[in-house]
Structures are given as C-alpha cells and as structure tokens.
C-alpha cells in the first residue's frame, strides 16, 4: 500500500515535471521514428542484403559484399568518390574564404551597403535545384579571365597533372560555386557583430593598424564562425547538383543486377566519407576554438 502510493506519487511527479516538455516534443518524436529512425535502420539493413523488388521486397543476406563490390568491382564509384572528395577539398575553402572576404567588406560602413548585402544574398533564393543545373548545363558562370590567360598549363605546373582536371572543373564554374556562399556571408556578418567595438578602439589607442587588428582580433574572434561555416558548406554541398556520387547512387537504384541494396551501401559509404570530413573539421577547429576561448 505504502509502496504503491509512493510509486504513484513518483509517477505523478515525473508527469508533472516532464509531461509538458514531452508533449511539446511529441510531434517531432513521432516524425523522428517514422521518417528518420525506421528509414535509416532499414537502409542500413538493405546495405547488407541483395534486394530484389518485384511487388514485395526479397532480401538475401550478403554481409559485406556490397561494400566490397563498391571498391573492387565497381570501376566508377571509387573514382567518382575521389573526384568529389577533391572537389570538396577545393570548394569548401574557396566558399568560406570568399564569404569571409565579402563579409569583411560588407561589414564596413558605407552608403548603399544594404544594396550590396541584398545582392550577395540573392543567390540563396535560386541557387538550388533545377535552375542551377540548367545554368550549369549551359556552361555559364565561368570567370572571364580564365580563357583569356590560358590558365591550364599554369595550373598543371603548380598542382600536378592528376589534380588539374578537378581544379579546372571547379574554376570553370567558379561563379556558380560562389553562389553557395550566401548564408555563410550572413553568418559571418552576424558573427562580426558579436565582437564589441570597444576592443577595436582599445587596440587603436595602443597603436595597432587595421591590419594588425584584423589578424589579432577579427580573425581569432570569428574562428567559431569559420568552423560553423565550413560545416554548413559541407552539408550544403550534399545536394550540390553536380555531385557525381549522387547521380551514380541514383543510377544503381534502378539497375537490375545491383539494386537497392547496393545503392544503399554506396549511400552509406558516401555518408561515412562526409562524416569523416566533418569530424576532421570539428577536430581541427574545435581545438582552436577552445584554445581561443582560454586565451580570451
């Protein structure tokens, strides 16, 4: 009797403590189970099977064969993965650096800056999906001086022959790639607002030039935003219309001899690669962020 009533009181306490919170979370939790947890575990399961579709799904457990095939039998996937990896290594720094430079300029006070801010945000509105790939297909978005100065031999000389194609590929669509920096510019500008103006005044009185104050104050203070932007860029490029890996996954879904199981395995390998990339960014910049905060 006593234990029972205590239990009831405990339950009542938990309900009153967590009830509303959980109720607020309820839609998200249902959605998570239905549209994330089930699909993710299902696709992981499929990655270890040979899946045949004919009205119903037929599974045949193959263990790690799909993953092995992806690297050993498939002669497109590893190449595309490496190509995409190279492109990412090039594109992420370009986008983040570009966003940093533009936001530094847009952070200055000058009449009409809101027009420029709006201009640089504009691509966010249409720089996704079909419109972009249509523009890609037309081959617009190259930087004009590229052809005039015949950059290719120069690139070949400095980065080596095997990367030349990637570099030229990225450079030839430089403008459209830079279109992916709209949100990053906003994040940087908002980040600069968190640096108090009094710090700049103090170093100026101490005789620091603007050049010094950029390296000693602005850059260290915006380190967290740089890493945030790198993460955002990596994730944003998931849906990059030119991503060759995604096209390959989609192709394999509907092929008779490979099918969903193989496509799932490819998607998971791809995810693992991205995850490693994110972990590296977090590892490098996370430590820097901590060090910066200790110094501050």
């Amino acid at each position: 009797m006593n234990a029972k009533s205590r239990k009831r009181a405990e339950l009542k306490y938990h309900v009153s403590r967590y009830g509303t919170g959980l109720l607020f979370m309820l839609p998200w939790m249902i959605g998570f189970i239905l549209f994330v947890l089930i699909p993710v575990s299902w696709s992981l399961f499929m990655a270890f099977n040979k899946v045949q579709v004919g009205g119903t799904f037929k599974y045949e457990w193959v263990g790690l064969r799909n993953f092995r095939d992806a690297f050993l039998k498939d002669n497109i996937f590893p190449v595309e993965l490496i190509t995409y990896f190279q492109q990412m290594l090039l594109m992420v720094p370009i986008i983040v650096l570009f966003a940093l430079l533009i936001s530094l300029m847009l952070n200055q006070k000058f009449p009409g800056r809101f027009i420029f801010r709006a201009l640089f945000f504009l691509p966010v509105i249409f720089a996704t999906g079909q419109v972009l790939s249509e523009l890609f297909a037309q081959g617009v978005g190259d930087v004009p001086f590229l052809e005039q100065y015949n950059l290719e031999p120069l690139v070949k000389k400095y980065v080596g022959a095997q990367f030349t194609e990637t570099v030229m590929d990225v450079l030839s669509r430089a403008v459209l790639i830079l279109w992916y920096s709209g949100v990053q510019i906003l994040i940087f500008i908002a980040g600069f607002q968190t640096i108090p103006a009094s710090v700049y005044e103090a170093v100026r009185i101490d005789g620091a030039t603007p050049w010094d104050s950029f390296w000693k104050i602005t850059l260290p203070a915006s380190m967290p935003f740089i890493s945030l932007n790198m993460l955002y860029t990596i994730i944003d490029l998931f849906t990059f219309p030119l991503n060759p890996v995604l096209a390959h996954i989609k192709d394999n879904m509907f092929k008779a001899n490979t099918g969903y199981g193989y496509a799932s395995a490819l998607a998971w390998i791809y995810f693992a690669f991205i995850f490693i990339l994110i972990a590296i960014v977090l590892g490098v910049f996370g430590r820097k962020m901590k060090r910066g905060s200790v110094r501050a």
Binding site: L22, M25, W28, L34, I38, W42, L119, L186, A190, A267
Partner: protein, 327 residues
C-alpha cells in the same frame, strides 16, 4: 621699431595662415585616408570598385539568363551576338509559359511551399521551445538526434522513405511533404529547431515566471507570449523554409510522379515537351534553339521568390542577425 612690429605681425599672420592650411590639409587627409581603414574616401572608392566587380561577376549568370531569354532563334545561333539581342522577342516566354503549364505548376509549388513552411514554423518553434526552456528527459540525447537528422544525406533514406510513403498512401499528393513537416521532419527542420532554440534561450526567464505566477499554463504562455516574441525568428524560418521548398528538386522527383507536378520538375521535363522527337537522355544535349525557352522558364521559376525577397529584403538580411542564430 615700427618695422620690427610690422615684421612681428607679418610673422604671426603667416604662422596663423600656415596653421590654418596645415589644419585644412589634415582635414583633407583625414577625409581621403581616414582614421580607420574604412573611413577615408580612397578606402571607400576601393571598396565600391571591388564590390561592384565581384557583384557583376556574381550576377552574370542571371544577366545571361535574361539576355538569352529575350533572344530570337537566329540570335541564339549567331555567335557574334553575345549580350544584347538584335531584336527582343517574347516568344520564349510564351513558349515556356505553355511548356511549364505555368499557372497549374505555380499553384502546386506555391501550395507546397506555403503550407509546409507554416507547418515547419509551428512545429519547429514548439520543439525548439521545449528544448530551450522545458524540462525534457535525456535532452542531450535529443540534441544529438536533431543534429543527426541534419547530417543524414537524403540519398541514404530515399528508398525506405518511398516505401513508407507508398504504404501510408501519401505519394503523388501534397501530404508527402506536409506530413513530415507537421511531424517536425520537413526540409532542414533541424536547422530551424536550432534557430528557435537559440532564440528562446536568449529571452529573459522573468517573463515566464511572471506569467506562471499569474496562473497561465505552458501552452497559453507559449502561444500568448513566447511565439509573438519570436516574430522575427518565425519570419526568418518561414522565408528560408519557403525558398527551400520552392526550389527543392530531388524529393519531388522521387515522390511526385504524375499529375501533381511542381515547377522544378516541369523545368526538367521541358526539353522533352519542346522536342517531342528527342526521347530519352536529353540531359547531355545542349540544344541552342531551346536554350532561350529554357532560360525563360528558369527565370519564371525564380521570379516569385525574387519578388518576395525584394519586398521583404530588410527582414531577410537583418532577421538572421536579430534572431540570434549566431551566438
């Protein structure tokens, strides 16, 4: 003696004059070079020139789009015509209008974008509020799971999702997008939850305490006080969500196959509509004659969001700063 005084006066005058001139020179110097790097005229000029050049490069593809759209077929084939067409034609626009089945597809896209964005705002604000302010068991776990939903590429789950949607009977209707949005799994919902979380965390606790003392329930408090407070965050989330739903291509290409077709899919099908003889893989072929029509179609797709952006520009750009995403 007189001459000595005169000389003295003259010296003083010239001294004053030179002081005056040096002051003026200093002023000019200050104006041109400035005390800070951004104050002076030269710096501003450099800034304007740099920004204008980059902005021109940045917007070049759009200019190309508009110029191609207005070119007749003869100009498209003529390599000497680069930017300005010999004569402006509206042909491409009318062709694109019919090819896209514009009114119908626009309605579909707008319905999806508006309803799903509204649902996202409501559910993400609720979830964000619970994560920021209410006591939820295993909060760290939920935080991790929300981040996880953001990281999973859509390609990983697209096949199971397709099966789930078809089991639930949602395919080829608006519910394919509306139901996930209503359950907090809409497009980039994790990002929006974090935006709301950050926002609610930055609000003073005293408001809630006061309302609690007055006997308001949590639901009442949320709807009556917190949500109106979060107006700017709501607007930012709605606008971003709207744009991303408007532009999405991958999901509708998988889940919407017949009848219920948004603009992005219609654009993809346009080549076949324009060139019925060209069946199959039209993707790799760049047909200079249909180029103008395609550009017109692309322009018509991005026009509504651009108009909205121009009207609401102020909120878009400053809203991110005010909603406290970065902090």
């Amino acid at each position: 003696m007189m001459s000595g005084l005169k000389a003295e006066i003259a010296r003083a005058r010239s001294g004053i004059q030179s002081l005056f001139w040096s002051r003026r020179a200093q002023k000019v110097k200050l104006m041109v070079i400035g005390r800070n790097i951004s104050d002076g005229l030269i710096a501003k000029l450099v800034l304007y020139v740099l920004l204008s050049i980059v902005a021109y490069l940045y917007l070049q593809p759009i200019l190309y789009m508009v110029s191609t759209m207005l070119k007749p077929a003869t100009d498209l084939l003529d390599a000497t015509v680069r930017w300005i067409p010999r004569e402006v034609t509206w042909d491409n626009i009318t062709k694109a209008f019919h090819g896209l089945q514009y009114p119908n597809a626009l309605l579909v896209t707008a319905t999806i974008a508006i309803s799903c964005s509204l649902a996202s705002v409501i559910i993400c604000s609720m979830t964000g509020y619970a994560m920021a302010r209410l006591s939820v068991p295993f909060k760290w776990l939920f935080t991790g799971l929300i981040i996880l939903t953001f990281l999973i590429p859509p390609q990983v789950v697209i096949i199971p999702l397709y099966v789930i949607f078809s089991k639930l009977g949602l395919l080829n209707s608006i519910f394919v997008f509306l139901v996930p949005a209503l359950l907090g799994q809409g497009m980039k919902a994790a990002l929006f939850i974090f935006i709301f979380m950050q926002f609610f965390k930055s609000q003073p606790q005293s408001l809630e305490e006061a309302a609690k003392l007055d006997g308001a329930s949590t639901a009442r408090l949320f709807v009556g006080i917190m949500l109106p407070l979060a107006r700017s965050a709501c607007l930012v989330v709605f606008l971003f969500s709207f744009i991303w739903y408007w532009n999405m291509y991958y999901e509708p290409s998988m889940f919407l196959s017949k009848g219920f077709t948004p603009l992005s899919i219609r654009l993809d099908m346009l080549e076949e509509v324009l060139n019925p003889t060209l069946l199959g893989n039209t993707r790799t072929i760049i047909n200079p004659i249909t180029e103008g029509t395609k550009m017109a179609a692309a322009f018509m797709i991005i026009l509504p969001p651009i108009l909205i952006f121009i009207i609401l520009q102020r909120w878009f750009v400053s809203g991110i700063e005010r909603s406290g995403i970065v902090e």
